[in-house]
Symmetry: C2
Subunit: 502 residues, 2 copies
């Protein structure tokens, strides 16, 4: 581990390599034998479980139930919604056969040519089609509405260039799919769920996000409107972290889902869908971590504190471990997840480095002098600061520190993010800001796809979102403002947020 740790690339020199090293060496995930697919290792999965459980409680608190729909989708379903097929049915895993047989030539197993499916099945890249095909059987009347269903599932998109957590062929996610009587109710649901995502990102992950609308060009294939939360990573690139789509009546029309409304007339059902994925783990890592390893927000950390004995000889070892056992019990009684690392074949410096790499928020080291003085050394992962504190009241202190660190991690990320939103009014400034400073660039845009694509071609920056109205929008971006497009010079009534992104 010490050797491996030394090999962690420097964040300032090679952000991308630093990220990959960190994910692998902290034991979060690794690539598998299947191209583009990852193995999520126990420590990474424990983090995902904490995220999933928190989100699941938020979904249930807003009235949603979980269900499960098939992994496979008949190929023809993708052709039913015209723009959806363009967006999703292309790079995907296609099941064509349902049986293998012994190779007549003796070379292991081969696909049985007689077991060809009549219609190919697609491994779901997203489930709107199979779900709306199912909802057709569930919905007859307005009394059957709303349907507020979420699914936790794996999905597959055949990505050519992959990166652990951020973009893999298979990933884990949740997808909410709701059905409503009215447009207004569906729009309200779309907004409610992007709000849930914002609250989760900021309150649990400690990652500040900008909430906004996607441009038409960046919209979900099949949506009338896509809302997004956009986060900023420490290299100045943006990361789309969650989306909520108002689907209008598009899928209801594609799958003929009509209902008898309160006026006793037939109408098509209104839909939303919304999702976040294991990509959030990537956001979490990239937003907070440093050259020593992960920095995890306490609310999601699989382990809150590690306790390490410092000793010479068997007697000091036994005394320190015994006392740590008592302290661990006090910490656990406060609901903290703690571990005593009593390995005696590993130096304590090695242990320190290991838990820094793994981002455990608090490290407690107890040596002979502490034993005598009734103190213990407390190290904070986020600031790397250390202090000697009394053992008395330790559990309360660590408990309070968890809230303090949760806030500090968020505030640090917010300060970085806020200092990396730059309002620019000329094309020259636009390009220079992207190249020299990075981050979000708030600029007037004429609202056309042509300009958006030309800007992307020239700078690799895309419109991350048009920030929503309201006091939550950073840097006063949530308001109309007259100006001229930085690229075309045409009039504009609102700034869009541009950035290079993952």
């Amino acid at each position: 581990m010490a050797k491996e740790l030394k090999e962690l690339a420097n964040r300032e020199d090679n952000y991308s390599q630093w990220y990959n090293d960190l994910v692998v060496k902290a034991g979060l995930a690794e690539y598998s034998a299947v191209r583009g697919c990852m193995v999520i290792k126990p420590y990474g999965y424990a983090l995902w479980e904490n995220m999933r459980d928190a989100l699941d409680r938020m979904f249930k608190a807003t009235g949603h139930e979980n269900a499960y729909f098939p992994l496979f989708i008949p190929k023809s379903f993708f052709s039913k919604e015209a723009s959806h097929v363009e967006g999703f049915a292309k790079e995907c895993a296609v099941v064509t056969h349902y049986r293998l047989m012994n190779d007549p030539e003796g070379g292991g197993v081969v696909v049985d040519p007689d077991a060809k499916l009549e219609e190919e099945l697609i491994v779901r890249p997203t489930s709107e089609t199979i779900i709306w095909n199912t909802y057709k059987g569930w919905i007859q009347s307005y009394r059957d509405l709303p349907i507020l269903v979420n699914q936790w599932a794996n999905v597959v998109r055949w990505e050519m260039r992959t990166r652990l957590f951020l973009r893999t062929a298979e990933f884990l996610w949740q997808e909410g799919h709701t059905a409503h009587e009215t447009r207004d109710e569906a729009v309200a649901e779309t907004e409610r769920m992007i709000g849930v995502y914002r609250d989760f990102a900021e309150g649990w992950m400690g990652v500040p996000v900008v909430v906004g609308r996607k441009s038409e060009n960046e919209r979900f294939a099949g949506a009338e409107e896509t809302l997004t939360i956009e986060a900023l990573m420490q290299d100045g690139k943006a990361l789309q972290s969650g989306t909520s789509h108002f689907l209008g009546q598009n899928f209801a029309k594609a799958f003929d889902v009509q209902f008898t409304n309160r006026e006793n007339a037939l109408d098509y059902v209104w839909a939303t869908s919304w999702g976040v994925s294991t990509r959030l783990i990537g956001a979490l890592i990239m937003a907070h971590s440093d050259n020593n390893g992960l920095v995890l927000p306490p609310r999601l950390a699989p382990l809150h504190a590690v306790l390490i004995p410092i000793y010479k000889g068997a007697d000091e070892y036994a005394a320190a471990v015994a006392r740590l056992g008592e302290l661990a019990a006090e910490l656990r009684a406060k609901g903290l997840k703690v571990k005593i690392d009593d390995r005696d074949n590993v130096r304590s410096g090695f242990k320190f480095a290991e838990y820094e790499l793994k981002g455990v928020p608090v490290r407690l080291a107890l040596g002979p002098r502490d034993m005598a003085a009734g103190t213990i050394e407390l190290a904070r992962r986020d600031t790397l600061s250390k202090e000697v504190v009394p053992q008395e009241g330790l559990a309360d202190r660590v408990s309070a520190l968890m809230s303090e660190m949760q806030t500090a991690i968020f505030e640090r990320a917010r300060a970085y993010r806020d200092s990396h939103i730059t309002r620019v009014d000329t094309w020259d400034e636009f390009v220079r800001t992207l190249d020299e400073k990075g981050g979000f660039v708030a600029a007037h845009w004429d609202g056309t796809v042509a300009t958006e694509l030309a800007i992307k071609e020239a700078t690799k920056a895309t419109i991350r979102c048009i920030p929503l109205d309201g006091p939550d929008a950073p840097a006063g971006l949530g308001a109309d403002e007259q100006g001229t497009c930085v690229f075309s010079g045409k009039p504009s009534s609102r700034r869009a947020l541009f950035a290079r992104s993952y």
Copy 2:
């Protein structure tokens, strides 16, 4: 719903149709547009969540961690373990292509012939191969052992004849995959986990099980020993409900996973795997339910009690609903999950039938006379008995009733099961018992595959297990006993448990 309920087939006339009706009409699951794949509806999924969460706590309490491995397995992996390929690589979903394209003829989308995979990928039917290929990178020394990992995942086996929950092409399950230094440790793990499954089946599901070894013929493909829990359904058929496999060094050898042991020598790693699936939902339904619908054990029921107002006119309605709100709060304070059904467009008789169908353990109905007398009508789902009880102390009474019902449901199933284990000593008795009584038949068997297959051919009964030693074995089956095989007349030292099964 009242109409639908009437259409529930009679359990005594057509068990199979009764089961299917029940699953669909209670809103647990339904078939999807994809052959053999089911949709697990919110009520069924809530049940699965409760089962999953209880099992997950038991796995963690026995030292296991969760992780996640790829959905896809390279075809060649299946050829590496000789018996595994025979058992699993045949009826499976095969991914051959990774892209669709617009049909040049204009007919929607078609598979892009240029996007053929070099090596086909199999949608996992079970994950031993991909996991042991991964463990190779995790294990160098005995210090890396044991690995105690579990995965919650979807798997696919291309079944021709499917039945909701019991046998579907895709299902949800957990698969534990552990790696050990020694044979003894791996054997102990295999036994520990079948014990966890027994405790879960009996303690949570209220389903009594026989724990035993599988015969060589019924063993998991690639295992040296398979332990099983076998449950008995109300139609006298057995259901394999969970298995735990001692895999020896088979997968370590197939994937070349060696470690440096404590003697500093290289050795192959010892393995186990164990799993239960959404099939358990089928076991639960079949073991307890009746012609009125589901009977759910309180420890797993998504809803413990439903509260229904009985009224004439708006005043009585308002008064009853208000009082039910107070009572519901008291019940919730005891940790009970309750719901007030205050729909005013549905008759109470309809509601009664609906919650009986859904197996809600307790129904509480509050009418004007109860309002005056301070009483409430309490109906128990398992016995269908009703009594009028005081509102005072209701929460304590319902709380206690949950434990009482949990025990009663288990004891009723156990009495049925125990009365359906028949010791027979002649072939004639064997056949007659299967045909006339059903259930488990405990008979001497000569231990050969030939006899086992001949018995199956003659009677459709298979060896469900050879019960393990110990006081837990029902009907004194956990002991050696000299006898002669009912089929061949050859000597036998132990009875095996035969049954027709799902």
